[in-house]
């Protein structure tokens, strides 16, 4: 992990305060979240106190401080999606996966996050799982979508257990 962070710092030599957010974004890509360790390292590199780094990172929606699931479900919370029933979609997903938004399932496979507008309002309600978009989601047919990933997970587990 230290190597990955150092590589990021090498891309930003002589970095100043205005590189903070890009560095945080790149650092989050390493593990999917920002650990305390990483925040302290970034503070050292930029010569800024850890409280400042943490204060900036916690302001923005994008940054997470605990790991997300293998399949991260993002439910769009935009106006169009809301009017087309995204609240029911979220409810259904929470019921199915047995976790609330903002949390990760105990086995670490699924996590749910509610996001501000994805920008595909014409196809509301929209959800995105690991970057893959699903449009016109029907809350009553949520399992059809979730099953795709459950199958994937099963396949990878079976495949790996040779």
């Amino acid at each position: 992990m230290k190597d990955a962070i150092d590589r990021i710092f090498q891309k930003h030599p002589d970095a100043h305060r205005d590189s903070l957010i890009p560095i945080l974004q790149e650092a989050q890509e390493i593990n999917g979240y920002l650990s305390n360790e990483v925040v302290v390292e970034i503070g050292r590199h930029l010569n800024l106190p850890a409280s400042k780094i943490y204060g900036v990172a916690t302001f923005y929606n994008q940054f997470r401080f605990s790991p997300v699931g293998k399949y991260h479900v993002m439910v769009c919370r935009g106006t169009a999606c809301h009017v087309k029933g995204s609240a029911a979609v979220l409810s259904a997903i929470e019921q199915e996966l047995k976790i609330k938004a903002g949390n990760t399932s105990r086995d670490g496979i699924f996590s749910i996050e509610v996001v501000a507008c994805i920008g595909a309002c014409g196809l509301a309600p929209v959800i995105s799982i690991n970057g893959e978009f699903h449009a016109n989601v029907d809350s009553k047919k949520i399992n059809e979508i979730l099953d795709i990933y459950r199958e994937d997970e099963k396949a990878s587990k079976d495949g790996g257990s040779e």
Partner: protein
């Protein structure tokens, strides 16, 4: 200069200044909560809004610049209603805790609620619930009472240059905390307490040791003694409603005696002692090629600052303990022996203008044989509370003198409460130590005053010493970086953590008005002007202490009791 109209009066306005500045100069009061003199306006609280003809919406007077022809109404019905609503909104998310709160009677939010006649709980709803952080020996963080004005963050970052705390999160879920919402004791906080002075409510307060002190006073086994710092006697009167700048030293001593303290000593005595030790140390370093520049070590916030941020400069620090700790050490050795008291039974209390002293007294190096030099530190505010709690009426007191053998003090020692005071005292005695002659003009103007960094060249015999005086630890970094970069012309640096010096310390009465600070300083300088014993080396009792017990400055006994060491600190930076 041009003219604007405010509340139907014509007042002066300077181009570029804010409306608030012009209003204040004209004596028109507008409430503020997040405003900080000398720093850029934050514009966060919105309570300073005023109505201006022709402008849509209400205008924040703290940040909006004056314009020619402006017509301002500071108390229009719309402005008052807005302020009332803002106060009600703050109260709606505030614990209904006034009666139990340390700021009861002295709280800006409480004052505003009273001033605007808030009588109804209009916006009831869920209040945020938080953990209390009382891990720090000096400061308690009570997030539930925080109104997020941001003054503590700004003081810590922009004034003190530490940034131990910052805003975390966003919106109504914002809290002010160290990184990772860790507790204060593992953060880079240096315990200076400037945040307490800035906080308008009880969200930040000192850790109180009143209970320990009262318990000790009531314990028949304990021999309880008390000392008070130079800055305390010129400030404590404010807690009793008197104007800043009144020195009530002798009355205060009487009050302490009434409370049951067996002995009341004066920390200014050991300030003189410190000058002997530190002066000798400086001379030694200068003549023997020791680490220079030497930096004072009486400010515990400053010590923690160096240990955290500039550990490579630890050797520059004087090894002298602070006057508080020196007195604690000699009480539990010299005094105990002389009086035949078992040091284990002595409960040593100090009254300090400082919250970092609460941290200092708990440092493991400050004691011997598992007996701490100082057992409890009370701030000036706590001392006043103790006096009030016991119903002591100042009008009925007769002045009393402090106790020997630690009661005599020079005005040089008393100047330790002022920024530049340690330097002035040191120069007066260094001159004598080096040349054997008294300094002709004891008042050294160059090191007096409130600027952050003052420098001077002092001629002592054939030596020319370069000295610097810093107040506000944020200013110290500049000098330290210059020294690290190779600056060689400085020999001695005085650093006081708090801007303004100890008279403006974290434990002082909550009045950060520049005039109040100046008045307190004025009182100290007045004492220096009027009393006769003005140099530390002429303090007979100090001489007696050396003759009788310590031997000589920097001698073996001195090293054991009066000197200490420091170490790098691993904290969340």
């Amino acid at each position: 200069m041009f003219e604007i109209e405010a509340n139907k009066r014509i007042i002066d306005a300077e181009p570029g200044e804010t409306i608030l500045s012009a209003l204040n100069r004209a004596g028109i009061k507008v409430p503020t909560l997040c405003h900080m003199d000398g720093l850029n306006p934050s514009g966060a609280c919105r309570i300073c809004v005023v109505e201006i003809e022709g402008m849509r919406g209400l205008v924040p007077s703290c940040s909006f610049p004056v314009q020619e022809g402006m017509k301002i109404e500071t108390n229009s019905p719309r402005a008052i209603r807005a302020r009332k609503t803002i106060i009600e909104l703050l109260l709606a998310n505030h614990p209904d805790d006034c009666l139990y709160c340390v700021r009861n009677g002295n709280c800006q939010l409480q004052d505003l609620a009273e001033e605007y006649g808030i009588r109804e709980r209009r916006y009831a709803g869920k209040k945020n619930v938080y953990h209390l952080d009382n891990t720090s020996p000096s400061i308690i963080r009570d997030q539930a009472k925080c109104i997020l004005c941001g003054k503590c963050v700004r003081v810590c970052e922009e004034v003190q240059n530490i940034a131990a705390i910052d805003f975390v999160g966003r919106g109504s879920k914002t809290v002010i905390a160290p990184a990772f919402e860790e507790s204060l004791n593992v953060s880079s906080c240096i315990n200076c307490g400037q945040c307490i002075l800035a906080c308008p409510t009880g969200a930040l307060r000192e850790k109180s040791y009143l209970k320990e002190v009262v318990d000790a006073l009531l314990d028949p086994e304990k021999y309880v003694v008390i000392q008070h710092a130079p800055a305390v006697s010129v400030s404590i009167a404010e807690e009793f409603g008197l104007k800043p700048g009144k020195d009530i030293d002798d009355l205060m001593v009487a009050a302490f005696k009434r409370l049951g303290f067996k002995k009341v000593f004066d920390t200014s005595f050991t300030a003189d002692l410190t000058i002997m030790e530190e002066g000798s140390e400086l001379v030694s370093r200068v003549t023997n090629g020791g680490t220079l520049p030497m930096m004072t070590s009486c400010s515990p916030g400053w010590i923690k600052y160096v240990e955290q941020f500039y550990p490579e400069m630890i050797d520059n620090l004087s090894t002298c303990k602070s006057p508080q700790q020196m007195l604690g050490a000699v009480i539990k050795s010299y005094f105990a022996q002389k009086e035949g008291i078992d040091p284990k039974n002595i409960f040593s209390v100090s009254v300090m203008p400082c919250t970092a002293k609460k941290f200092e007294c708990a440092r493991p190096e400050m004691g011997r044989n598992n007996i701490a030099d100082i057992d409890a530190v009370l701030s000036t505010r706590e001392a006043a509370r103790l006096i009030k709690m016991h119903g002591i009426d100042f009008d009925s007191l007769t002045p009393e003198l402090p106790d020997m053998p630690f009661g005599e003090r020079s005005t040089a020692g008393k100047l330790f409460g002022a920024t530049g005071g340690v330097m002035e005292a040191a120069i007066r005695s260094a001159h004598f130590l080096i040349t054997g002659k008294e300094l002709s003009t004891l008042k050294i103007e160059d090191v007096r005053g409130l600027e952050g960094i003052k420098e001077a060249k002092v001629k002592i015999g054939d030596l020319v010493l370069g000295v610097a005086v810093v107040n506000g630890v944020g200013n110290a970094a500049k000098l330290l970086d210059e020294i690290k970069a190779g600056r060689k012309d400085l020999h001695f640096i005085e650093v006081m953590t708090c801007p303004g010096g100890c008279v403006a310390g974290g434990g002082q009465p909550l009045n950060t008005d520049k005039d109040a600070i100046k008045a307190r300083l004025g009182a100290l300088y007045n004492i220096d002007q009027t009393e006769t014993l003005r140099t530390s080396h002429n303090n007979k009792q100090v001489q007696e202490l050396y003759k009788d017990f310590l031997g000589k400055p920097l001698g073996e006994k001195s090293h054991e009791l009066l000197h200490t060491h420091y170490a790098k600190r691993d904290v969340l930076l």
